[in-house]
């Protein structure tokens, strides 16, 4: 039997020990009226070999097109060492380190991760992960409401330059607790938050301002001024950041006079494959004063009976298994294995490597924009500094162009038609260090021939 070790003799012995005639007798507390019949829609079992062929065929159907989308998930080089270690059974098949003494590997790694991600964002403490970047924004909004004792409005300002799906997810999750989300427009020329629009909330009770840097368009926001405005106005600041960019960009802990209050983001760029959308990593860091309001697991260093250092889950009184309905969040299972990947990735590239990855990605996008805007009918939409993403417009609807590119094995970008109809035929494109000049030339040539 696949994965079941019992021999006939085992079963006989075990039934005798229990004192029942057969296995079915063990289900005698289930009312017979409820018992179900055969699961007719479940196919017959396949051997590993056959399921292997099936999956290979499915994979071959999808192929490996050349990708120029970012929009929240980025294709970076992942060193071979990362997943060969992540896949080790001791990481892969362990669970939440409830028994600290038997889980020092996972716990020490999480402590190392917390250190790295806190430092990367310029904050003091980090949790051990949330589900993904989008849901992390929702958790941050809820946390801000808890953490900001003097604010009663539960009003969260969200710029339209924040990833639109993050806005949707935040509403879907945090909306149930009567938070008020109000929108902040962007300046058409720069694609960054319209700071003058903030006047509307001046002197009002605002719980928190969310700032995404680089923003969804890839443009760089004036984070210092925005942070200072929020703090001056009594609001907390939630930063939403791309961890790769932080090798080059000022960390949120240093934005403005005081630095932000909560930082969240999508950790996928750090060694996690695109994988069709997940599993990824939601990360979160904050100041020490807010640590008891953080959701998620936190690992601390302590001592054992002999005075030797060791690691354990701590501040569990925030969590659902202790605090139940009063917990900071319902999160239990998180994204541990992906955090393992991120920690190994960050260790391999180190501070210099992350900087180079970031700089190369920026340079490749620069090159991409230059190449594509040479194509007749294509132009860049926004001015000003950006990281590794850019918005272009075409002289015709984007959807059919993307479909035609896909036929040629090119994934040409993300259409902004649904979320930003005001931009016309707009397209968000991205190139990381994994795209080389040939790739870019191939895309430009394909686009040129489609638009000609």
């Amino acid at each position: 039997m696949p994965f079941i070790p019992h021999t006939d003799a085992d079963v006989r012995d075990m039934l005798a020990t229990i004192g029942v005639p057969n296995i079915d007798a063990l289900f005698d507390e289930i009312p017979s009226s409820l018992r179900c019949g055969v699961l007719a829609c479940i196919p017959e079992a396949l051997t590993e070999m056959d399921v292997g062929r099936l999956m290979q065929e499915r994979a071959a159907q999808d192929g490996r097109p050349l990708n120029f989308i970012g929009a929240g998930a980025y294709e970076h080089h992942i060193p071979a060492a990362v997943w060969s270690i992540v896949s080790r059974g001791e990481f892969y098949s362990a669970y939440t380190p409830y028994q600290a003494e038997a889980s020092q590997g996972t716990l020490q790694l999480l402590y190392e991760y917390q250190t790295m991600i806190a430092s990367l964002t310029g904050m003091q403490v980090a949790n051990a992960s949330l589900y993904d970047g989008a849901s992390a924004v929702a958790e941050a909004a809820l946390m801000a409401v808890r953490a900001h004792r003097r604010s009663t409005s539960a009003r969260i300002l969200m710029p339209t330059t924040l990833n639109p799906v993050y806005r949707q997810v935040t509403r879907a999750i945090a909306g149930n607790q009567s938070l008020n989300f109000e929108m902040l427009p962007y300046v058409p020329g720069s694609g960054t938050i319209d700071a003058t629009a903030l006047d509307k909330w001046k002197g009002q009770d605002v719980t928190a301002l969310v700032i995404q840097q680089p923003n969804f368009f890839g443009q760089l926001e004036d984070v210092d001024a925005l942070t200072d405005w929020a703090h001056a106005n009594g609001a907390l600041v939630i930063a939403v950041v791309n961890p790769t960019s932080l090798a080059l960009l000022k960390p949120p802990g240093e934005w403005g006079q005081k630095g932000v209050d909560i930082v969240v983001g999508e950790g996928q760029p750090l060694g996690v494959p695109l994988a069709g959308g997940g599993p990824y990593i939601g990360f979160m860091t904050t100041r020490m004063e807010h640590v008891r309001q953080m959701p998620g697991r936190i690992v601390g260093r302590t001592l054992d009976l002999d005075g030797k250092p060791g690691f354990t889950l701590t501040l569990q009184a925030r969590e659902q298994h202790i605090r139940r309905s009063k917990a900071t969040s319902n999160i239990c299972t998180n994204q541990g294995l992906l955090v393992t990947a991120a920690t190994i990735y960050l260790s391999l590239v180190g501070p210099e490597g992350l900087e180079r990855v970031a700089a190369a990605s920026q340079a490749r996008t620069r090159e991409l924009v230059a190449a594509l805007t040479k194509v007749r009918g294509v132009r860049a939409v926004f001015n000003g500094p950006r990281f590794h993403e850019a918005v272009l417009t075409l002289d015709r609807p984007v959807g059919p162009v993307l479909e035609a590119l896909a036929v040629q094995g090119i994934v040409g970008g993300y259409s902004l038609a649904e979320h930003y109809p005001e931009l016309g035929n707009a397209l968000l494109v991205c190139a990381t260090e994994t795209r080389n000049s040939n790739d870019i030339a191939r895309y430009a040539a394909a686009l040129a021939s489609l638009l000609s």
């Binding site: 999956m55 879907a172 210092d224 998180n334 260790s347």
Partner: protein, 485 residues
């Protein structure tokens, strides 16, 4: 074995240059630039490999140890699921790539939805929730949305048995609901009278785990369903314990309106040292319009994502893209390998193992929390008597078990059973392994009389002795700081 922190291996200027591109100029205005490099280790590739390989060896895991952690279904994670979910085409797929380039992946997910429908007896499935707790969130949010869509705005109470997993009440709160707790009877069943007392016009629904987290099947489930439905509430099924009933009874047939499944438990995707998980939700007819998006649908002979346009009443999106796709693939592959009879075998042998282990432990002098009940796929031992008589706690037993080479069962959950161990052997463990566990429990019980200190100070053979949790919480040390020069 002790392994330094990765930062202690770091030396300024050390790099693993094979792993990043050549230097390139960045174009960032001065005011937005980072001034000081982050505290990332500067180490060689060998140091990274050696450090994390050594760290990994400090873990207990399914692949190295029997891991009977109750409520967590620590069964074998087939290696094929990992290998095939990591085929390069799947790994390199951008979630926003056109659907036409993802028919292979979407086909797998669609078939997974269909299979989950079949094993749960529900009417619709959404795969998007990223863990059990998010599945619960989706479920309760759908219940609220349902009531609200009918203008039934007063229904804000979620009834939760006292034995429920902590995520249940926490989820209700996250959904803006009020939690109403009801007690369990001494035999482990729900107190039906108490239930009758609390239901009413404010009842949004009830969250149940069946078999319950007490390790027993709620026999009067049909009656419970009737009471809640009659009061206008809905029934939520916490699917963490689906392993116990797979192919035997279906939540849909028991009258549940919504269910979340922990694919990382019943369908054996990895636990990964804490995650990732997947908390797919199944719904009955009434909740179909409210499912979280995206869901995989078909159009002609193509698969495509159903979004807000298709499900305008959806509770919305819960993740940046479409949930933990890679986890879903693993569950799909696992289900295809089990196939139809394999599904039933899961619950049969999981239940056989649990009842055998319970019978042997009872024979060895341990007390079952619910004596006259069948174990489901897990069961509870209470050490209340030993604690009183010998001064050893369930925690002491748990730590000492580690010395014997067994991961401890879940301790102190459910909260209502004193000094409890919740034990879930799963179907993939061999009888000898269970026998070895019983032998260890017997030996520890003997030590508890002869040498209780051995238990109090356990573990003795692991990389660290018992850790000071109080100190950890009081003298917070959550990140490493370089020594001041």
């Amino acid at each position: 074995m002790h392994e330094k922190l990765i930062f202690e291996h770091s030396r300024t200027g050390r790099t693993a240059t094979a792993q990043f591109p050549a230097a390139e100029a960045a174009d960032i205005p001065a005011g937005l630039r980072r001034k000081q490099r982050p505290l990332l280790p500067e180490v060689s590739e060998l140091q990274v490999v050696r450090h994390f390989t050594r760290l990994s060896q400090l873990n207990f895991s399914i692949d190295t140890h029997f891991y009977p952690l109750g409520s967590c279904t620590m069964k074998y994670n087939p290696r094929a699921c990992n290998a095939l979910a990591m085929l390069p085409e799947f790994l390199s797929r951008h979630p926003y790539a056109p659907e036409a380039t993802g028919q292979g992946l979407l086909g797998c997910l669609y078939e997974l939805q269909e299979m989950l429908l079949e094993v749960t007896g529900m009417q619709g499935v959404s795969l998007t929730p990223m863990a059990g707790a998010q599945g619960e969130f989706a479920g309760v949010a759908m219940m609220r949305a349902y009531h609200q869509s009918r203008g039934d705005l007063a229904r804000v109470e979620i009834i939760v048995p006292d034995a429920a997993h902590g995520t249940n009440p926490a989820t209700a709160t996250m959904c803006g609901c009020k939690v109403v707790e009801i007690p369990s009877l001494p035999n482990g069943d729900i107190d039906i009278d108490a239930l009758k007392r609390v239901v009413g016009p404010a009842t949004a629904g009830i969250m149940l785990t069946n078999p319950s987290t007490l390790g027993v099947f709620e026999r009067r489930i049909a009656e419970v369903a009737g009471i809640v439905h009659d009061a206008g509430g809905l029934l939520y099924y916490d699917g963490a314990n689906l392993n116990a009933i797979l192919g035997k009874v279906r939540p849909g047939d028991m009258g549940f309106d919504v269910i979340h499944m922990n694919l990382h438990k019943t369908f054996s995707t990895p636990h990964g040292g804490g995650g990732p998980g997947s908390g797919a939700v199944g719904v009955g007819k009434r909740l179909l319009p409210f499912m979280p998006i995206p869901v995989v649908g078909t159009q002609g002979n193509q698969y495509r994502w159903l979004t807000e346009k298709d499900l305008p009443q959806s509770i919305g999106r819960l993740s940046g893209f479409m949930g933990n796709a890679g986890v879903l693939l693993r569950a799909y592959i696992y289900m295809r390998m089990l196939g139809r009879p394999g599904m039933q075998r899961v619950s049969e042998y999981a239940t056989l193992n649990a009842n055998y282990l319970l019978a042997r432990l009872k024979a060895a002098g341990f007390d079952a929390a619910y004596t006259d009940r069948r174990a489901s796929h897990e069961f509870i031992i209470t050490l209340k008597r030993q604690s009183r008589e010998l001064g050893v706690s369930a925690m002491d037993f748990a730590k000492r078990l580690l010395d014997y080479g067994f991961h401890a069962p879940t301790t102190y959950f459910p909260l209502l059973v004193p000094e409890c161990l919740l034990i879930e052997p799963t179907e993939t463990e061999a009888k000898e392994e269970l026998d070895g566990f019983v032998d260890a429990m017997i030996a520890i019980l003997a030590e508890a009389s002869s040498d209780p200190d051995k238990l109090h100070s356990a573990p003795h053979t692991l990389p660290v002795r018992r850790l000071d949790d109080v100190r950890a919480a009081k003298q917070l040390d959550l990140t490493w700081k370089p020594a001041q020069a």
